[in-house]
Symmetry: C2
C-alpha cells in the first residue's frame, strides 16, 4: 500500500491551509476558493500506472477499484478508506472514434470522450462520488445544491446511495418539471423558493451555515478532484500518450479548471511527458470567458446568457481564476461557437449513432472552427469531451428534426407515406440522396429533408 | 486461437438447417423460427473463463474485446472477424447491491443487473450489435424494424455506426414524438404508415422480401445471441457461481428466451454447475404468458395489453415457444404484478439512487411477491434484471411524483416554501419523518408527502 497522507486544502487567495475535513468551500479568513493539494512523488509514476492498469480487471466486479474515478484514488482522495467510498460505480466511459464526425471536423485523429455514459447521464457523477463521500466522512447531516439540471440529478443519486438527505433549492419562476424528473425520482427534497436564482443560492448558503447542510457547489474542491479523473482516464486509454488538443464545453468553467489541475499533476508526476493544449469552447450567447481571453484576461465581463445549450448557459462563471490558470498552463485557447454551429455539430454526433446533450457538441463545433482557422492541424490528435447523454434533452432533438420553423441542416423528420412498397422504395431513394447533408461545408439552412 | 466454425441456423419446428448467412428470420420451408446452434466443447470451460477474464482489461480501451457482448464471442458469433464487428462498445453493465431495495423485497442477497447502462439506455443494444454486424456481413442494403421504442433507438444507433440505412416503420395513429427522439437523432428513416401496427408490420415484411431490407425482429436469431450475454456477464461478475433466482421483466419474451438459451449453454459447457431458476414477471394488464403458465402452458391466450410499462405492453408475445422452453429447463415460474406494485418498486429503485424505466421494475416487484409467498427464501441469491434507464421515461416519473390524482406511495413532489431558514428546517424535519415511506408493507395509496 502507498502511504495515504490525505490532502491539504489551501486558500487560492491568501494561501491559508485547512485540514481536509474543513467543511466549507471558501476560506474562512478571506473568502477565497480552496484548492486540494496532493503530495506528489514523481518517482511513483510507473508504480501508479501499474496500479491503475491492475484495477481495470475490477470494472465489471464493481466497488471502488471498478470505478473510473476511484481507480485513480491516489490522485483524488487518498485518505478515503474503501468502505467510506460512495460509488455507483461511475466513469469507465468510452473513448470513441467515428469516421463521420472526424470527416465533419476534418481531423482524422478525432476521439470522443463520452461522459454521458456515467450512471445519471452526465460527467457530474465523477465530482459527486468524491464530494458526497467526503461530506459523509465529515459527518454532514445533509447535502445541497441550487440547480435544476445535471448537478441536482447527480447530487440526488449519490446522496440517496450514501443515505444522506439531499436538498435541492429551485427558484420558483424557473421550475421546468421535465428537468426535475431525475432529481425527484432519486428522492431529493426539492424546495421551491420565491425569487430568482440568487435569492435561492442565498438561502442555500444560510442553510449551509446554520443547519449543518453541506452545499456542494461547483467550486467544491472535492468535486474538482473527482472531475480530474476524466483526464486521467482519457490518458490511460491513450496509454499515457498526451493528445495534441483537448476540447471542452465551457460554461461555469469547472471542467476547464479540473482538466488544468489534472494535466499539471500528470505532468508533474511524469505520467505524461508533454502538455496537451486545452480548447475551452463557449456558446456565443454565453461567452464571457472567450471575450476575456481575447483581451488577455484583463477584464471579467458578466453577460445575460442566451443559448440553446442549457448546461453551459452561464453568465458569470464561478471557476474563473482557476480556468485562467488552466488555459495559461496548457497554452490553451478559448473560443465561442454559434447555436447554429453547435446544433449542427450535435446533429452530426447524433447521426453517427453516438449522440449527446446540446452543450456537449460545443467541443466538436469548436474543433471544426479551430481546424478551419488552421490552429488545429490535420494530423493532430484531438479529444472532444462530450459531457452529457442524448437522453438528457430530447426536446431539443424533436425541435431540431421536426420543428416547423426553418429546416435545419441534416434534419430528419418522420416521413408520411402510403402503405405501398413503391412508397418505401421512393423514400429510401430520396433518403440516400440526402445522406451526406452533414458532410457539407457551409452552415446555411437547408431546404431538403 | 480457438477454431471459429460458425453457427448453424436450425428451424425450431421442422429442424431444417440453414447456413449462418441465410438472410431470413423464418424457415423458408415451414415458417418456423430459427435457432442459432453453436458447437459447444465442454472441455473448453476453463479456457473460455480465462479468455473472458483476460479481455476485461480491454474494457476502457474499447473495440470488440472491450465489449460486454463480444467478450463472449465464442458463444455469440464465433465466425465474425474483428474488423467486421459493429460495436459501440456495449454491455459491461453493473451488478449492483442496494440496501434499501434489498430491504423492500426482504432479500439480503438481492443484486440488480442494470442493462439501462448500455449506450442507448436499454438492453436492446446487446442484440443489435450482433444483428447489425451479421446484417452487414450478409450484405444487407438496409436494416429495419417496426417499433417506436427502445428497439428502434438501438437499431438506429447501430445502423448509423455500421453505415447502413435504418428504416423504422411507425403506425400513423401511434406516433408520440418524444418516444421517437433517439430514433430521429440517430438518423433512421422513419416511415409513418396509415393503419395500425399490423398494417405496419405487413409493409415492413414486404419491404424485407422485395427490397433487400433486413428486418431485425425480436425473434431474429442474432439478436437472441447478443442478449444471451446479459446472462454470461452476470455469471462472470458472480465468478461463475449461479444465483438461485434470476427475475426478468417479461413482455415479448425475448429476454426470457435468451436467458434460457444462455443458461442451457453455460450449463452444457460447465461454466456453471447448476441451473438458476428464472422468474418471468409480467404486468397484470399484459400477462398472457403468466395466465398460460397457470394452466401448464396448455393455452396460448392473446390479450389487449394495458399497463403503464410500455416496454412490456405486449398482448401476443413473439417468442412464446422459446420462452416455455426457458421456463421448463430452469424450473422457472411466471407471475404478474399490478401497475401499482410495479410503480412502487420503481419508486423504491429510483429512490435508492439507481433508477430505471417502468418495465424494469417488474423484476423487483415480482421478487417481492415471490418472497412474500415463500417461493424465494430469505437466504437466496437473487438477480433482478433492470432493462432500461430512468431517462427513458421521465413522463412516468413526473406523473408519479407530482400527479394531482391520488398520491402515490413514496411520492416526492417539489415543496414550495418561504425564503426563510425556519422553512428549510421544517421541510427537512417533515422529510425525515417520511423517509421510510417505501419501507412499509402495504400497497394502499398514501396521503402523506
Amino acid at each position: 500500500m502507498m502511504e495515504a497522507p490525505g490532502i491539504t486544502l489551501r486558500c487560492e487567495d491568501c494561501r491559508r491551509a485547512f485540514d481536509e475535513m474543513y467543511p466549507g468551500d471558501f476560506c474562512e479568513a478571506c473568502g477565497g476558493l480552496l484548492n486540494a493539494e496532493l503530495v506528489l512523488d514523481p518517482s511513483s509514476a510507473a508504480t501508479l500506472r501499474g496500479r491503475f492498469a491492475e484495477r481495470l480487471r475490477d470494472i465489471v466486479r464493481g466497488g471502488a477499484d471498478g470505478s473510473g474515478v476511484w481507480r485513480y484514488r491516489e490522485l483524488v482522495l487518498p485518505s478515503a478508506a474503501r468502505d467510506e467510498i460512495v460509488t455507483h460505480p461511475e466513469g469507465n466511459t468510452p473513448l470513441l472514434s467515428r469516421a463521420s464526425v472526424s470527416a465533419w471536423v476534418n481531423v482524422d485523429g478525432l476521439l470522443l470522450k463520452h461522459e454521458g455514459h456515467n450512471p445519471t447521464g452526465s460527467f457530474k457523477d465523477r465530482g459527486m462520488t468524491v464530494a458526497v463521500t467526503q461530506a459523509r466522512r465529515a459527518g454532514a447531516a445533509a447535502v445541497a445544491c441550487a440547480s435544476t439540471g445535471n448537478t441536482s440529478a447527480s447530487l440526488a443519486s449519490y446522496a440517496a446511495h450514501a443515505g444522506i438527505p439531499a436538498v435541492v433549492f429551485v427558484p420558483a419562476g424557473y421550475v421546468a418539471m421535465g428537468k426535475l424528473a431525475q432529481t425527484l425520482a432519486y428522492g431529493a427534497l426539492t424546495l421551491v423558493v420565491p425569487g430568482n436564482f440568487d435569492d435561492c443560492l442565498a438561502l442555500a448558503r444560510r442553510a449551509a451555515a446554520e443547519l449543518d447542510v453541506r452545499l456542494l457547489n461547483s467550486v467544491n474542491p472535492f468535486r474538482v478532484e473527482g472531475q480530474k479523473t476524466i483526464a486521467f482516464e482519457m490518458l490511460q486509454q491513450l496509454d499515457w500518450r498526451a493528445p495534441d488538443w483537448i476540447a471542452l464545453p465551457a460554461g461555469n468553467l469547472g471542467n476547464t479548471s479540473a482538466f488544468g489541475k489534472a494535466l499539471r499533476e500528470a505532468r508533474a508526476l511524469g505520467l505524461i511527458d508533454r502538455m496537451p493544449r486545452i480548447a475551452a469552447v463557449q456558446a456565443e450567447g454565453a461567452a464571457p470567458f472567450a471575450r476575456s481571453f481575447a483581451g488577455d484576461f484583463a477584464e471579467r465581463p458578466v453577460v445575460v446568457p442566451d443559448t440553446v445549450a442549457s448546461a453551459i448557459r452561464i453568465g458569470a462563471p464561478a471557476s474563473w481564476a482557476r480556468a485562467i490558470g488552466a488555459i495559461r498552463d496548457t497554452n490553451g485557447i478559448v473560443l465561442s461557437v454559434s447555436d447554429a454551429e453547435l446544433l449542427e455539430a450535435k446533429a452530426c454526433i447524433d447521426a453517427s449513432g453516438v449522440g449527446c446533450e446540446p452543450a456537449s457538441a460545443a467541443s466538436v463545433a469548436g474543433i471544426r472552427s479551430l481546424r478551419r482557422r488552421g490552429v488545429i492541424g490535420a494530423g493532430d490528435t484531438v479529444v472532444a469531451v462530450l459531457t452529457g447523454h442524448l437522453l438528457k434533452d430530447p426536446e431539443v432533438v424533436i425541435e431540431y428534426h421536426s420543428g416547423t420553423a426553418s429546416r435545419r441542416r441534416g434534419a430528419n423528420p418522420p416521413v408520411e407515406i402510403e402503405a405501398t412498397i413503391g412508397a418505401v422504395r421512393d423514400a429510401l431513394k430520396r433518403r440516400s440522396l440526402n445522406r451526406d447533408a452533414l458532410r457539407g461545408d457551409d452552415l446555411a439552412p437547408d431546404a431538403g429533408a
